[in-house]
Amino acid sequence: MVDRDREYVEFVAAASGALRRTAFLVCGDWHRADDVVQDALYKLYRSWSKVDRGGNPLAYARRVVVNAALDSGRRPWRREVPIADLPADRALPGDHADEHAKRDEVLTALGALAPRQRACVVLRYYEDLSVEQTAQILGCSEGTVKSQVARGLETLRIAIDRARQTDRAL
């Protein structure tokens, strides 16, 4: 295996899990996240030597993945609604579904955010990126990131508080 390929494989092995987790938080579906990351990494190979020389392939891949995850929700064939998951209010106290319900509440709140608002929150509070880095990835101003994050956080915090109150009540 040539150096370029070896480095690429090492990078994919090291970074694909983290990228898929980020993509999941942005798009809300593990399988879609998996598709998005595989597509992004496939495209990354074309420009690997240039990206690798640039010194930060993870930052580049993250930008591609986040934007592809945002874009994936806009494609018509992705607009199906999953029906296999039970709604949160079906969970019964005492069974393992109550943890699932709590997760669902936060996940639902995350899904209720506007896509770019969700991406701002994920990049700032999951990836721990700065406002500047988040703005670069999303191609918007730092002021936009700040306002989107503030609104998104408020919505999420209410959802989390509600989930915790439900927990205590159970």
């Binding site: 970074a15 898929r20 938080l25 595989q38 020389r53 640039g54 010194g55």
Partner: protein, 336 residues
């Protein structure tokens, strides 16, 4: 804000899918590249044919009455910009070359390239890796000298000059620039996980590579001499897995928080250390026994860097370390 981050991490932590198969993805990428090459070759042949036909139809293309270009009076239209880093012959670029084991012959070649003024052989019976600092052989009368074996990115003169002008900057990007100059490895996109500065003495810094597989332990001093100090263990680039996490206990306090004299002939102490310990520790308070001063360091995912000059002359050099979690609760107290 921490609760939001924690909830997001909890959600993301439940990945139900198998890891992405990197070799399979590579094979897919190879197939795609072959397909594109075939298509572009076909397109190129067709394009050349179209251009040739069009050119043959244009008038006066074969006449030789064109004026020669004027030369000599103007600067060239394009001016090359010197890159910040250039390749080191025989060494891969960037992270791939950092902390790689070498033979004595290869280490000698790289040290000669970096320090051509030093004609002595390297000391045998040592371990040689790129970015690590190794001693030259010493005979009676020789001064002790070391070589920081270069990585794959030779810094430009402009970068070297910038590092010399500001050897102990406070800003992370400038710190990484200076560490890049020190190790001949472009670290500018690495992520600083911990740093601590004793003004006028040493800045200790830990940064992790973009892939997360390597970390640099860098020490910046006010008067750099072109080598990382000290020789042997310490500053250099290492694999993250190789280091593991240090258990936060009395042994940690004894061995990983070192001290030395604060200045020649005085009783003050300088404390230093770098490494990685338990991930739930967000802050460590260093309280030297006998001193009235304390010093706090912040940890990120367990990474820590300490560089602190305690001006109190009553410190004995022994320390009490208190670890706190992110909410400020005491996790553990250990002593050296």
């Amino acid at each position: 804000m921490d609760d939001i981050g924690a909830e997001l991490r909890r959600l993301a932590g439940a990945d139900p899918l198998d890891p992405i198969d990197a070799p399979a993805l590579l094979a897919r990428a190879h197939r795609g590249r072959r397909r594109r090459r075939l298509l572009s070759a076909g397109g190129g042949v067709a394009g050349v044919a179209v251009v040739a036909i069009a050119a043959s139809l244009l008038p006066n293309l074969n006449t030789a009455d064109k004026q020669p270009a004027v030369t000599g009076t103007n600067a060239p239209a394009t001016q090359s910009v010197q890159p910040d880093f250039t390749p080191v012959p025989g060494v891969p670029r960037g992270e791939a070359a950092a902390g790689v084991k070498l033979t004595l012959a290869e280490a000698t070649r790289l040290c000669t390239l970096r320090y051509p003024q030093n004609k002595r052989p390297l000391r045998p019976n040592f371990f040689w890796s790129t970015t690590h600092t190794v001693p030259y052989a010493q005979q009676q009368g020789d001064r002790f000298a070391v070589c920081t074996i270069p990585g794959g990115d030779q810094p430009s003169n402009a970068l070297v000059a910038a590092a010399r002008r500001d050897p102990m900057p406070a800003e992370a990007s400038a710190q990484l620039r200076n560490c890049s100059v020190l190790f001949w490895t472009d670290l500018r996109n690495w992520r600083v996980m911990a740093s601590d500065m004793a003004p006028g003495r040493v800045t200790n810094l830990i940064a992790v590579s973009p892939s997360g597989r390597k970390y640099v332990n860098c020490a910046l001093v006010p008067k750099p001499d072109g080598t990382a100090t000290p020789a042997g263990s310490g500053p250099g680039i290492y694999a993250v897995d190789a280091g593991g996490r240090l258990k936060f206990d009395d042994h940690f306090a004894q061995w990983y928080v070192g001290y030395s004299q604060g200045c020649t002939g005085c009783e003050t102490k300088y404390y230093n250390g770098t490494g990685r310990t338990d991930s739930n520790i967000a802050r460590i308070r260093i309280a030297p026994v006998g001193s009235r001063n304390v010093h706090d360091i912040t940890l990120h995912d367990g990474w820590f860097a300490l560089s602190w000059f305690d001006p109190d002359p009553h410190g004995t050099g022994k320390v009490k370390l208190t670890a706190y979690d992110k909410n400020g609760n005491v996790l553990k107290v250990v002593h050296s």
